[in-house]
Symmetry: C2
Subunit: 193 residues, 2 copies
């Protein structure tokens, strides 16, 4: 599939630099709550022309998705590390807390992802996969160890967490999210042996 073509040239360094600068500006803006920032403004802050922005990201959603995806990938990478360091259930708990801290607390995902959901849904279909794989391995381990009931669906837990990150506002929010993690884990456990 996707043949690589014989790339006659190395990609241009200014192109990569601009792309990164755009992502950086966008991520910062989204994090600061400027979800509706005009794209001209993003280009201006990144020090590039509007045309350059649109060449790298054909529309607003593409830009948001790119920011989103980078964050998700890093979160997904943490799963195997945690699995190697902790017993199954604790590894899952740690990962879910990481989800809370990293995704929601940083506000990168929650605000930015809104507006995409209602759109094509392509974002979830695509990026969702890496998260799905991550949580899947953790939950499978807990089931294999007999700690979780066999009918627990990893995606259910993920969905619940994602929801919490959408409500991430107001004080004391973080501890609320962590309580929820514990409720989810308690609710997933096997009935007493």
């Amino acid at each position: 599939m996707t043949d690589v073509k014989k790339s006659r040239r190395r990609p241009r360094s200014d192109g990569q630099r601009n792309r990164e600068q755009l992502l950086d500006v966008a991520k910062t803006a989204f994090t600061m709550g400027e979800v509706d920032i005009p794209l001209d403004e993003v280009a201006r802050r990144a020090g590039v022309g509007i045309g350059t922005l649109y060449r790298h990201f054909p529309n607003r959603d593409a830009l948001i998705e790119a920011v989103y995806r980078a964050e998700l990938d890093r979160l997904a990478e943490a799963a195997p590390v945690l699995a190697a360091q902790h017993p199954p259930v604790e590894a899952l708990r740690a990962w879910m807390r990481l989800f809370v801290d990293y995704i929601a607390a940083k506000q990168v995902i929650a605000p930015a992802l809104n507006g995409l959901v209602g759109g094509t849904g392509a974002l979830y279909a695509h990026s969702g996969d890496v998260l799905k794989a991550a949580v899947n391995s953790l939950v499978s381990a807990a089931i294999a160890a007999g700690e979780f009931r066999a009918d627990i669906e990893p995606l259910d837990l993920l969905r619940a967490l994602a929801g919490v990150s959408n409500f991430s506002a107001g004080p004391g929010w973080e501890s609320s999210a962590k309580r929820l993690v514990d409720i989810l884990i308690a609710g997933s456990r096997s009935l007493a042996s």
Copy 2:
């Protein structure tokens, strides 16, 4: 506060009719996934001028919120009814399932609410209250009956549910949401007496 002024006249009937027609068209459009429908188009379908739309709803968010609020109110009203008909935990379970069916499955909330969350947050602050009160009474009852641990925060459950409704896409989604309800309830129960 909000003094009522001496209203010298009854509100005009055509005004109310138009308002309802606009809400109806908007709700239908959002439900059909046309979240980005231009407001001119909403006005056209409702058979009114664009000016009329903007008089009733000063901007897009106001329209979305109005649609949203009507649905939430009806959901909140179900709580006391269920509480009267079932034992505490079952009442809560029934209400949460209603949440799933009514809000998420009808797709009115999830897509429409996106974009508001990142904005002012006024929507949650306002409409959130009625839902909060509803779930609060149900959970309090379960705690009072000794079925739930005392440290369960009603809002945590609500947040988890709201999240699920954002992921409401793809087949088999509904059963997933209902499994989650059960996990949440199992995780909230008192440790065996």
